[in-house]
């Protein structure tokens, strides 16, 4: 038996394939298998990384819970009683896929280690191309979770302005949240990038505090080609996200705080509720 951690991946599609591939080529882990949501977990598995999407998430978590294994999942897309029950089964930890960006991982570690000093605020923005589907699930939830995870400070109030600005319905979201110790979180996610934008995504986080300001924009890493025709083309030049995400996921399984997991669902529910009501929501 190898001393490598035995990991299974639950999910189908590109993300699951990439994550499984990263584990397969890792020197730290062994892939026990990549299975569909609801399928039996391969024997020998020690930890499950669940990258099932939307409707499949709860089905996948149920199967893993039945196997009695710790599981890392993408942020849950539903916040109802079933979702809460799923988080209460065994050791389920949510992880933002943004943690695949190594620069964001470094930023997160520094912020959580107190590099900003007494924190003032968090600003986070994630913009994707216009017309991108499932904005809230694919872009919003990861952003919300990444921001939520930076500080342990409980949130007391959330206000969401939701707008249809770029040709899609509800394609721009603006979230302002306040912490119990006055931390101000300002988040924006939108399908706002024009087709001609040099990179398909734009991510920016800033943490401000009395000791430091930390700023990270991982998507600014581009390959720029100036051709003989006079034009300049930028293409994104980002490292493969999956290996860093796998490391982040495995590390996270050691930190299981059920109340924080549920608090995140409360945050997400408040964001949605505020958007629908057009009023701030107290937590």
């Amino acid at each position: 038996m190898s001393d490598r951690q035995q990991l299974a991946v639950v999910g189908i599609g590109d993300i699951a394939r990439n994550v499984a591939e990263a584990i397969r080529y890792s020197t730290a882990y062994t892939l026990t298998g990549n299975v569909a949501p609801g399928a039996a977990i391969p024997s020998g598995t020690e930890t499950v990384i669940c990258v099932a999407e939307s409707d499949d998430q709860l089905t996948a978590l149920k199967a893993v819970a039945d196997a009695g294994l710790p599981v890392v999942t993408l942020p849950l897309t539903t916040t109802d009683d079933a979702a809460r029950a799923a988080l209460g089964q065994g050791r389920v930890v949510q992880v933002s896929p943004l943690r695949g960006f190594v620069a964001l991982e470094a930023f997160r570690a520094d912020v959580r280690n107190g590099a900003a000093g007494k924190p003032y605020g968090i600003f986070g923005a994630h913009r994707v191309r216009r017309g991108s589907a499932d904005l809230f699930e694919k872009v919003g939830l990861p952003l919300l979770h990444f921001a939520f995870d930076l500080f342990a400070e409980p949130l007391t109030r959330v206000q969401t302005t939701r707008a249809s600005l770029f040709g899609g319905e509800n394609d721009a979201w603006f979230v302002i949240a306040r912490g119990a110790r006055d931390l101000l979180i300002t988040l924006e996610f939108a399908a706002s990038l024009a087709p001609s934008a040099p990179a398909p995504e734009q991510i920016l986080f800033e943490a401000t505090g009395d000791a430091a300001v930390l700023r990270v924009e991982p998507t600014r890493q581009v390959l720029q080609v100036s051709g003989s025709g006079g034009g300049t083309a930028d293409t994104n030049w980002w490292p493969d996200l999956a290996p860093v995400f796998v490391d982040a996921a495995v590390q996270t399984t050691g930190i299981h705080e059920p109340e924080r997991e549920l608090a995140f669902l409360d945050f997400v529910a408040a964001v949605r509720q505020s958007a629908e009501r057009g009023q701030p929501v107290s937590l």
Binding site: L165, G167, D210, A212
Partner: protein
């Protein structure tokens, strides 16, 4: 060209850092003849340094001079209402530092006083005269990004920036009080002192008045009594969105950074300082930006342009380059943001229409 005689009221931070140098730069067009400040030593210092023949500790003495063509009011916003109306009643044209006033009602009365006395009134929203922002506006007007849908500007300042200005020029500190910028008795905080730039720019670029605003604010300076950090979301009447996060008490060494982004139906404009910083120093301690040349240079130019264009409107009796209604509407948004941050509710702005004719 006839040199216009200028009387400056309020010889504090913004006067010393921007207005007085700009007036000196425009010496072929403007002549500083008098300075007034409640602190006589500040009035005297500014007058002597910039060649004014007289100084006063009461601005009314300055207004009584018949030779002054226009006054440049550089006092805190809570004094603007009284001083602008007094200047208008004295028949002086008025250039007044932003923010226009502490309330919308005050702004309306200031505009009415200028009309009543047939004098020109302009509020110095310096970013309207800053090349960076003028280029953005020009691109919007040319239709390069289509209809504006989202305007965001985040603004970041270090606490040391205020310390430096305070040492150099001196924030007015009334007896028994904190410096006025930190005192709840004299200001409502960042929403007006500098986030009014963001409300004005968002409105200018969106080409719309605000319909509603939500804001959260906080005090980060342990010595402060008013919020020095604010984050808000404005919904404009056509559904476009304006957003800003303004933080004023960042650690020493942090540069004066702005991140302006305008998203339109056909494209995007980004004018953000961090990637534009032309000077970076890498050491064993990491990287630092000694200063942010790009915007600071533009700021200097802005005040010169602003005063020059206002002076031209006085000299030629033409409309001022920035109608005070624009500043009034920026105040309406900023004051609504303050109210929202205090009540924790979305504040709906009343419908208003610009009165006919420019002041």
């Amino acid at each position: 060209m006839r040199r216009l005689k200028v009387g400056l009221i309020g010889a504090g931070t913004i006067a010393n850092s921007a207005h007085l140098p700009a007036i000196a730069h425009l010496h072929e067009e403007l002549e500083l003849v008098a300075v007034a400040d409640i602190r006589p030593e500040m009035a005297e210092k500014a007058a002597k340094e910039y060649g004014a023949e007289a100084w006063y500790d009461d601005y009314r003495q300055l207004l009584a001079r018949p030779d002054i063509d226009f006054v440049d009011i550089c006092t805190p916003e809570f004094l603007h209402h009284e001083q602008v109306i007094a200047a208008a009643d004295a028949g002086k044209h008025i250039h007044c530092e932003k923010p226009m006033s502490a309330t919308v009602a005050e702004a309306d009365e200031m505009i009415a006083a200028a009309r009543r006395n047939n004098v020109k009134l302009m509020i110095g929203h310096s970013r309207r005269f800053t090349p960076r922002y003028q280029k953005i506006r020009a691109a919007i007007e040319r239709g390069e990004i289509g209809e504006v849908k989202l305007v965001r500007e985040n603004e970041r300042r270090a606490a040391s920036m205020y310390d430096a200005l305070n040492v150099w020029a001196g924030y007015w500190t009334p007896e028994g009080s904190k410096p006025w910028v930190a005192s709840a008795q004299f200001t409502q905080g960042a929403a007006l002192t500098n986030a009014v730039h963001e409300t004005d720019l968002a409105r200018w670029f969106a080409g719309q008045d605000g319909a509603s605003v939500y804001a959260e604010a906080r005090i980060t300076n342990p010595e402060g009594e008013v919020p020095d950090m604010i984050t808000y979301t404005i919904t404009f009447k056509n559904g476009a969105v304006g957003a800003a996060e303004v933080v004023n008490q960042l650690p020493t060494g942090y540069p004066y950074f702005h991140m302006m982004e305008v998203f339109g139906s056909q494209g995007t404009i980004r004018a953000t300082d961090p990637p534009m910083s032309p000077y970076e120093i890498w050491t064993t301690q990491g990287m630092r930006f000694p200063t942010n040349f790009a915007l600071l240079i533009h700021v200097d130019i802005a005040y010169v342009r602003e005063l020059q264009q206002f002076a031209a409107s006085v000299r030629d009796d033409t409309p001022v380059p920035l109608d005070p209604w624009e500043a009034r509407q920026a105040i309406a948004l900023s004051v609504a943001a303050v109210e929202s941050s205090r009540t924790n509710k979305i504040v709906t702005l009343p419908s208003t229409s610009r009165p006919g004719g420019a002041a």
